[in-house]
């Protein structure tokens, strides 16, 4: 395939994660900032540890399989957010993760407390420069 390069446009679509704690690649997974002192895990940038006040962190991978320990089916959301969708809290081998339950009907018949789920990624669209944003959710396992 040949195409002349266009100014400001990357021909090969770059993939960019929705959030910086999503690591793409062959086996997409989440990473946390783990406090080297007490082991508390955070997904966002932290100035110091909320638990023990120390300020050294290391990156740790988070299990991609988990248990749905809470959820809601959101029918009303801010403008631009497609509804209904399932928002959930997933226990990934001891680390709690926030994410939507995807690839299933957003109904109480299909989604239940304690169900097994696993991380899955999907496209969130492409920007003007050809970068494709990749999001994550959890699908029934």
């Amino acid at each position: 395939m040949f195409a002349p390069p266009l100014i400001g446009v990357t021909i090969m679509a770059n993939q960019i994660p929705h959030v910086d704690y999503l690591e793409l690649g062959d086996k997409p997974h989440l990473v946390a900032n783990e406090c080297t002192s007490c082991g508390a895990r955070f997904f966002d940038r932290r100035n110091a540890c909320a638990k023990c006040f120390k300020n050294e962190f290391k990156k740790v991978p988070i299990a991609t399989d988990g248990i749905l320990k809470s959820f809601t089916i959101v029918a009303f959301a801010a403008p631009g957010v497609p509804v209904p969708f399932v928002a959930g809290i997933i226990d990934c081998a001891g680390t709690s993760v926030r994410g939507n339950v995807i690839n299933t009907d957003p109904t109480p018949e299909k989604v239940s407390l304690g169900m097994k789920v696993r991380l899955a990624t999907f496209s969130l669209g492409t920007d003007d420069e050809g970068s494709e944003a990749i999001g994550f959710g959890f699908e029934p396992a």
């Binding site: 960019i16 994660p17 929705h18 959030v19 910086d20 704690y21 508390a40 955070f42 997904f43 966002d44 940038r45 909320a50 638990k51 320990k69 809470s70 959820f71 809601t72 089916i73 959101v74 029918a75 009303f76 959301a77 801010a78 403008p79 631009g80 957010v81 497609p82 509804v83 969708f85 928002a87 959930g88 809290i89 680390t95 709690s96 993760v97 926030r98 994410g99 939507n100 109480p108 407390l113 304690g114 969130l124 920007d127 003007d128 420069e129 970068s131 944003a133 999001g135 994550f136 959710g137």
Partner: protein, 402 residues
């Protein structure tokens, strides 16, 4: 001189609902003037004003209020603490009295929310052109609300209730709807409530779904309203009239907490630990146990929240909230009446007013002035609010023995 016992000398609330002809200062003034009259004092007696209006937290609501009720030059503390703003204002006045700095304090909370839509949610959308650039503490290239869980209040509190179900079992859509059925049934007796309509269980379950399992009547009602209270020390109270002493309500505990670190608190706000901590401290301060309470006004911002607070306030054994509710205990004729005002689901939730209005409700019963909805011979009550972020205020109140 510092005083250890604190009393509510006067307290008032406006009717909750839609007040389109009144601005926020009108509402605050109405409550403040009524609270001063109820206390039998004037602004000349007040040494500190603590005022809250969450939606206008950057404006000087307290100073604007003074100009309408009495501009005496006393210090004003404008407070903002999410849904615990009213309780925080009250506690600010209490601390000033307790420290011995002033003889009397006035706390006011007012809010105009009628017609406000969904609270929470949204987030920052992309600016300058269509280019993905990581922003904020999560380095996100697009808003996260709705794509990675939900930031909406109904959705957040739905998950709070469902998480309790995952931990202890026994929850269902129907169970949460039944909690709402109780509060709406209670509201019929409360003329101050924004909504006084009894719903059948079917009506509640078939109403518009907001965030499963919370349908519209299971969510707190956005409305306008204000509430205010005058507090003083026991030392001052003993110099006042017999009638003032008889109607005064003892503040046996006044506690404010924030959420301590817990494993999952960054994922789903933990509304449990800070409430439990506040409750423990409040029972200890007051020297009462949950079984001594004659009524409880707790923060039912959603039906799913009421369930977990039965447990957090230790009204039932740990993990036993479902059985406790199903026993009928929390209905007004039960062993532990909860939200006999109708709760936030029907009385309404004008944010900054809520944390004083729930205390007004308890005081009203302790003074034996609650009319049709009077809980007979009520001597001790508890008022609880929680604001996400989080802040929890708990007050334990007792009938005057003077």
């Amino acid at each position: 001189m510092a005083s250890d016992d604190i009393w509510i000398l006067g307290i008032a609330m406006t009717k909750f609902g839609k007040h389109s002809d009144k601005d926020i200062v009108d509402l605050g003034s109405e409550a403040a003037i009524a609270a001063l009259a109820d206390a039998g004092v004037t602004m000349d007696d007040i040494g500190i004003l603590a005022a809250g209006n969450l939606m206008g937290a950057s404006a000087s609501f307290g100073q604007a209020l003074q100009k309408q009720i009495g501009q005496t030059g006393i210090p004003v503390y404008n407070v903002a603490n999410a849904c615990a703003t009213g309780a925080t204002a009250l506690r600010t006045a209490i601390m000033a009295v307790k420290a011995g700095e002033v003889k009397m304090g006035l706390a006011v909370g007012a809010e105009k929310l009628a017609g406000a839509g969904l609270l929470g949610g949204g987030g920052v959308s992309k600016k300058d052109g269509n280019k993905f650039e990581p922003r904020g503490r999560f380095g996100s290239v697009l808003p996260t609300d709705g794509r990675i869980g939900t930031d909406t209040m109904p959705g957040t509190f739905a998950q709070v209730g469902m998480e309790y179900g995952h931990k202890y079992g026994g929850v269902s859509f129907e169970l949460f709807a039944k909690i709402s059925e109780k509060n709406h049934a209670h509201s019929v007796l409360n003329p101050m409530a924004a909504y006084q309509k009894r719903f059948t269980l079917d009506e509640i379950m078939n109403d518009m779904m907001i965030a499963y399992p919370n349908t519209r009547p299971m969510c707190s009602a956005n409305c306008d309203g204000a509430a205010a209270a005058v507090v003083t020390s026991g030392e001052v109270l003993r110099t006042l009239s017999k009638e003032q002493q008889r109607r005064a309500i003892k503040v046996s505990a006044s506690v404010l907490t924030t959420d301590p670190y817990q494993e999952a608190c960054q994922i789903l706000p933990d509304v449990n630990t800070l409430t439990r901590n506040a409750a423990k401290l409040a029972y200890e301060q007051a020297g009462v146990s949950p079984s001594d309470l004659d009524l409880v006004e707790l923060h039912d911002c959603f039906a799913t929240a009421e369930l977990v607070h039965y447990d957090n306030l230790m009204l039932c054994p740990e993990g036993g909230a479902v059985d406790f509710f199903m026993s009928g205990a929390t209905w007004r004729d039960g062993s532990m009446p909860v939200n006999v005002s109708g709760g936030l689901e029907s009385k309404g939730h004008p944010i900054a007013a809520t944390g004083i209005a729930n205390i007004w409700e308890v005081c009203h019963h302790l003074r034996n002035e609650a009319g049709d909805r009077q809980i007979k011979d009520a001597k001790v009550g508890l008022a609880h609010v929680i604001g996400l972020g989080s802040a929890c205020g708990i007050h334990i109140l007792e009938r005057s023995g003077l």
